[in-house]
């Protein structure tokens, strides 16, 4: 008995797992260097712990309040089923189909066509769409976008991306604190100077590599959400047409709006690019449109094959 028509995408799972392993190794490198610098010195270790707890606390807050922060940042407002019956009905049905708790539903009043999902856990999640999205997409396309966002919620992408980015935050901290100490400290011995130099260099390298790795991870997670969303609705074609429409529109939107929206790219269905898009897909938070369409077309073909 075939439980589903779709073949598992082991390649994507493998690449994502590899990225996570690399990020974890990077974390170990960072921890090792910190241990090496402060290891022998009890007072120094205490200071380092305090210095590291603060930014991690901030990151934790960003994760814990991710729903409120993103809603406030996008000026999105939660809507009741009476205010947006159509939107709620779509989310209701998709959640019943996927057997997941229903997230809160929000609407942002902006012409930028986009959607995002946030919140620290599936029980605390919010799915938001902009009014510009509703104006441009058909109901079936809007539903495809919602199923992509619900997949982000089911995959706990906010949590995974927050944990993944903590390596970069710590590395940045190490880099800066080492740089400041080396500038401030005069009359120290040569050994201390060398340690600070190494710490700065390690910080820079780890920061750069972790930045690239989190972007790789983000792109893989977009692909995973595309895939899961298309499988959920059984209609990859609707997500394809929605993505094509949104990306075409994103290019024509005035730049000021795009910049304002940029910090929230990680949770968007389609990133609000500025002119930075040219400098390589290496830094992009989302995979290129062709790649997303290619994956969805593959799913569509699987649906066309006789059982």
């Amino acid at each position: 008995m075939a439980s589903t028509r779709f073949r598992p995408d082991r390649g994507l799972s493998f690449r994502m797992g590899l990225t996570l392993v690399l990020l974890f190794l990077l974390y170990l490198v960072l921890a090792g260097v910190v241990w090496w610098i402060f290891g022998g010195d009890a007072g120094g270790t205490g200071a380092a712990v305090i210095a590291f707890v603060l930014p991690l606390g901030l990151l934790w807050g960003q994760w814990y309040f991710s729903d409120r922060l993103a809603l406030a940042g996008m000026r999105a407002r939660e809507v009741t089923p009476e205010e947006a019956p159509q939107l709620h009905a779509m989310v209701d049905r998709l959640c019943a189909l996927a057997d997941m708790p229903k997230p809160r539903v929000a609407v942002a009043d902006t012409d930028l066509p986009n959607a995002f999902a946030t919140g620290r856990s599936p029980d605390r999640a919010v799915v938001a769409v902009t009014t510009g999205l509703g104006r441009r997409l058909t109901d079936a396309e809007l539903e495809a976008v919602l199923s992509h966002e619900l997949s982000h919620v089911a995959h706990r992408d906010v949590t995974v991306m927050t944990v993944a980015s903590s390596v970069g935050v710590l590395a940045g901290l190490l880099m800066r604190s080492a740089l400041w100490s080396s500038m401030g400290g005069r009359g120290r011995d040569q050994n201390t100077g060398l340690i600070l130099l190494v710490a700065t260099l390690v910080g820079i390298v780890v920061y750069a590599v972790s930045f690239l790795l989190t972007r790789v991870l983000s792109r893989y997670r977009e692909l995973a959400a595309d895939r899961a969303g298309a499988i959920l609705t059984g209609q990859p074609a609707n997500l394809m047409s929605a993505l094509t429409k949104i990306s075409g529109d994103m290019a024509r939107i005035p730049e000021r709006d795009l910049r304002a929206a940029e910090p929230y790219n990680a949770f968007f269905i389609y990133p609000a690019f500025t002119d930075k898009v040219d400098f390589a897909s290496l830094f992009a938070s989302h995979p290129p449109l062709e790649k997303r369409l290619e994956q969805l077309a593959r799913l569509s073909r699987e649906l066309g094959q006789p059982g």
Binding site: A2, F6, G17, A89, D99, K102, H155, A224, P236
Partner: protein
Amino acid sequence: MGLFDSLLGRSKPKRPKLDALFALPTAALTLETAAGFTPTGIGSVCYREAEGAPFEQIQAQLEQLLAGASPERVRDSYGWTWLVLRREPSDVAGLVTELHAVNSTLELEGFGPALLCSLIGFADASGRRLALVYLYKRGTFYPFAPVPGAEQKRDNALELQIRAVVGGDLPIEPDVSRWFPVWGAPGLDAPPALPSG
């Protein structure tokens, strides 16, 4: 979803639970004796139509298979497909068997995850309508009672009463936030359509 699946961004499509549906004939009897609601003889299966020719063919097969229950395929305003089946109001067991035929066919062909819910209609002497909704992914039922004539209002008091009445016969969805409304579900708003012949 487990930790590992979260980390790898893999969600497996949820497979439907089909067996709890067979508890319905008993519940229908209880409903009639305890609350005065009788079956309308209308049942429906709501699913997500997948794109591609194979799914089209399965739907055509289903309509042939169930020709005795005058199946009618309705596309609702949200893009979901309802396969509506009609039987003699007294023959709830026959209706359930036919609903099960739809479910098991879709499951067998690899489209089990596309099943959303199933509805069995009831009405009382004063014309109030009620549906028992079966959630495939949860394996649970819940009552849905739209207020007659009102725009998108549901009769919560009646729904809770029905929950108490059939709670012994059917697994009722404990999380009421999952009792999602199915406005305009075929066979629920219209007056009972009796099968001809």
